[in-house]
Each structure stands twice: as C-alpha cells, then as structure tokens.
Symmetry: C2
Subunit: 135 residues, 2 copies
DNA sequence: TATTGTTATACTCTATAACTATA
DNA sequence: TATAGTTATAGAGTATAACAATA
C-alpha cells in the first residue's frame, strides 16, 4: 500500500537525493539546509536574518545558528543595518562566493545523478508536476 | 536556482505532505515512520524486529523503540519465536488491526489532498516517474 | 509595546556501544 | 563467535522562552 502513495514515493526519492548530495559534497556538516542558506544569501545579499530564516521555515534561533555556521567558516558576514540597528544584513564574503560556486557544481552534479535514469523530457515533466503541487 | 533542482522540489513536496499527514491524523505522536511500521507489521505478521527495522532503514535500537511505541498502545505484541528463541515475531492485536484500518483511511485522505491539484493521469505519471527513480 | 538577534534549555530522533540471552 | 533484542548514552537538530538592544 505504501508504494502507491505519492507522499511515500516522494520521501524515498528525497532519502536517495540526500545521500547523493552528501556523497557529492565532501563535508558532512554541509547539509542541504545549510547549502540552501548560503545560496539564499548569495542570491539576496543584505537580507535580514529573520527573513532568511522564514524563507527556509526556521525559527529565529535556528536561523542564528545556520548563519553562525557560515560566519565561523568565513563565508558570510553580518553588517549592521543603516536604517534599523536591531537587524543585520547578511552578505557573502569573497571566500563565501568561491565556496558557494564550488558547492553549486556539486549540488547540480548530485541532482543530475538523482534523475539519471530519466530522459530529459521525463525530468522536465517530473519537475512540472512537482512544481504544480508545491507552488 | 534551488527551484530548478528536482531534489529541492521533492523536499518541498515532502514537507507539504508531512503537514497534511499530521493534520489528517489527530495524534502528533503518530509520525509517518510509525505509521509505516504499523502498516509493515500488518502486511507481514510475525516478522522479526531486525527485519522490520531494516525495511525502514532503522538501527536495531530505533526499531526497538518504534515497536515499543505500538506495544505500549496495545496495537502490536511480541511473540517468542518457536525456532529461534532470540527473536520475536511481531503481530497486530485486534485493537491494532482496528487502529491500522482507521489510520489507513486518514493517510489515503492526506495523500489525495497532496495531489488534489493534479488530474488522475498526472498523478499516475508522477508516481511512475518517482518510482523509476527509487526502484 | 513590538521586533531583531542571542542564549539557555529541553525535547525528539537517531546511532553507537555495552550488555543478556540465545544460536 | 555471531546474532536478536534491550538499555544507556551521546550527538544533531529543532523549538520555546527569557533576555538585551532597538524601534
């Protein structure tokens, strides 16, 4: 019965995708969530921490820790906002930009491995159907 | 960029499916994993704990706890094996059979809600493509 | 009063390892 | 020696709540 549920299939594919991602990225500490956070900062430089956390469904404390992770590695930096001095803008450092570019290659490679059994048309159709559900 | 990755889409759909499942099932303690375990016992009565755990990718200790959860609720029982007295067979109780039937309805309902935006043909195609990846 | 970010704390889930009983 | 199951313990990840600074 489980095999017929879309939700169950999706979970199995996610488990597989997670393990492919861990293999493509050398460092087990760089989880999909943490990569997503770095990518988000790279695409939206200067965004406040709360907003970054919200975008990923994190609590404020979890967002703090996720930013801490990259800050300790010298990949992002917090800059006090000019208008609102309670909040920071978060920015990529130069090292962070290089790291993000490096990780993007690995992530794309892992995603390609995930769908390697499908034709290009099938991948497009799969993405369309998944998008129709979550958008 | 994240939106174009199959792995990322799959994760978003899973998050949505998880929350629909939690809403369909009244008790937050009954997680997808725990439901899967009960379903597995129902379909394969008498299976040893190690095998049940393996099927769900659990360690032996995690399998013990998952079975404990249902045993405490009176839904499954361990019976000492006749041939190998180290291992148990795990069986549904009558209450467990009723509970499983009740949960199946809820799970099917949640899964239908997950794909409600898709036509029947699209659901079939989605399941086919997901199955092609994880099988 | 409300919000941003930090910190302390607790909770859940998991794995590892040590233990027992059987094989 | 190896395996099934249990238990104790530790680690990762999360949320909640209390706090300081600012709005």
């Amino acid at each position: 019965m489980l095999a017929e549920l879309t939700g169950f299939s999706v979970k199995l594919v996610w488990i597989l995708g997670y393990s492919l991602l861990q293999r493509a990225i050398d460092d087990p500490a760089i989880t999909p969530l943490r990569f997503s956070m770095l990518e988000l900062v790279g695409r939206n430089p200067g965004t406040a921490q709360v907003l970054l956390g919200n975008a990923l469904g994190l609590s404020r404390s979890a967002a703090t820790l996720a930013i801490d992770f990259w800050a300790e590695r010298g990949c992002v930096e917090r800059r006090i906002g000019a208008t609102d001095r309670r909040s920071f803008g978060v920015y990529l450092t130069e090292a962070g930009a290089r790291e993000l570019e490096r990780l993007r290659q690995r992530v794309l490679q892992a995603d390609a491995a995930l769908v390697e059994g499908l034709t290009a048309d099938e991948v497009a159709e799969l993405n369309r159907l998944l998008g129709k559900i979550h958008l």
